[in-house]
Symmetry: C2
Subunit: 342 residues, 2 copies
Amino acid sequence: MKISIFDVAKRAGVSVVTVSRVLNDSPTVRENNRQKVRQAIKELDYRPNSAARSLARGKTGVIGLTLTTLQDSLFDGIVKCVNDALKEHGYFLALSIGPDTSDSDWGEGSNFLYQEDRVDGIIVLSPLKEENDVLELKRKKIPFVLVDNQLEDMSASVVNVDNYMGGLEATRHLLSLGHTKIAHIAGPELYRSARERKRGYIDAMAEAGHPPFLLVDSDFDIRSGFDIAKSWLAEGDRPTAVFAADDFIALGVIEAFRDAGLHVPRDLSVIGYDDQAFSSAIHPRLTTVRQPSEGMAQEAVKLLLKIVNGTQKRNASVKLEPKLIVRESTASPDGRTLEIDR
Amino acid sequence: MKISIFDVAKRAGVSVVTVSRVLNDSPTVRENNRQKVRQAIKELDYRPNSAARSLARGKTGVIGLTLTTLQDSLFDGIVKCVNDALKEHGYFLALSIGPDTSDSDWGEGSNFLYQEDRVDGIIVLSPLKEENDVLELKRKKIPFVLVDNQLEDMSASVVNVDNYMGGLEATRHLLSLGHTKIAHIAGPELYRSARERKRGYIDAMAEAGHPPFLLVDSDFDIRSGFDIAKSWLAEGDRPTAVFAADDFIALGVIEAFRDAGLHVPRDLSVIGYDDQAFSSAIHPRLTTVRQPSEGMAQEAVKLLLKIVNGTQKRNASVKLEPKLIVRESTASPDGRTLEIDR
DNA sequence: CTGAAAGCGCTTACAG
DNA sequence: CTGAAAGCGCTTACAG
């Protein structure tokens, strides 16, 4: 037989109310009784039934997180930090991994997290079709916060990173090294992050008095970067530096140049974005822009919990700063800023 | 006010029992009533309270999955597939991400998933300190299955991949290309997978009448592979092929050779393990051994659900086969088996 | 500081 | 095929 709070109460010689109080760390329990209850719990190896607690309390104690892929250092980092932050506050993390493709059949039916009220709130990570999500969540009155959302004007609580600033800083870094022939390989227009990074590139160039040297669209992956860089090698006036919209593209570019017998950063400076796990491990170690996944996670959790507890009324919006990480893949056009051990 | 099953019942003009029946797809409901209930549910935007259901049913409908990192294509793939498989069976996935380090303070206190009985069962992925886990889970009578476990003799339900076979096949592939100077960069002894892959290498070499040409221990990461390969370059009699215990090591090796102006696979054939996401995207595309993450996930879920439902009594054990994926990083010693478009 | 009682929102036998 | 009643295991006012 499964043991319940009654068994504990009987064993400890108190009422279930008292047991409940020590379970919830209520201060109004005589120390003596508290000890007896603790003892009984241990002896019986008792664990409170979470369903009963949830039902009685009107809260589930679980927060949902929806995302499309785990194959990304940024998401991975956020999930981990959210997990930790939640644990600290006594919450559980339930994951819902949606399909990667944005045009899937999933669009219609709602996320399974929304179907039963299993969660007290939801963190929506990088939503591609956020209008739907937001609408449904609002209709169902499920507290939520959007992280890294793609639409500019969502009336919802959001936490974002300043991708425009990231693009600006990345490009400025290249400029400060003396480059002027700076290309940008942009991510898909679909992503707000891609749009803003591109804007940062354009503005940084303008700031320095240059028109964009070369601007090309791409997917966020290694092969695209490789192919684009390959095409440059055939041409005459190729860039001396490139700001890639993410680290995967950057890696592809590096491989293409190396494949042609050229050298990074001597023949091309490369800067990526996101600081993926591999970026500090490859050769040359990649200069990149890191997003503060820990901060994003903490802000998201903090915000959501406030909303859940009713402390936060109106939509709040948090914007965090990215950070330039200078490593080995960028140097001055003549390759002389190289300070690496190779 | 939160709407409950009573509101639906009233609206539909039936009893809550009938509503409950249509909620649970009971066949014993007159079609007419079923429609009325469905209608009421939709009009009220009613969602059953999962806590109440769990309490009444004695099951939570959630399965826990514990792991240490998401930064791995294999784990990522498994989590995704588990998620899907669970969804199909009407279960939720709760994640518990433990610390990466095996010697952490975490060892003592139990996993937070175990503390309240929130889950009907648990999938333990690549447990490093599995004795503890297994003992605690058994004591608490929580159904569980071990996936990719590290100890040979666990009396528990497990699903594993045949890493010995993987090592054998990887090495045989290299042998069949004509190599004899085949090195193996092994993973940490701590991992059963590492031990078995190494054993596969040794046996495959013996099978072909060769002693192991070169055997070196490593961590599962890019830098280690890089450093090890670098050290070879200084020596005289270096291998013409290497079987790396995982793709990260393999990537490091490739980079080291390329960094020295050498070419893969012309100067060195490289085969990795795991088929990480990047492995098919880098240049040269990496020959590797893929683990059947989908199969592992499905078997694990199938097994666990059987245990949960009491269908499965004794410990069961499933062993799956890995698959050799031949791509561009391996060729014959003279580099002539090259059939790639570069 | 402690406990009796009601209630959280479902499901499950049991009758009919 | 349908419903009244009991029960799942807690927590929360309310008294004392």
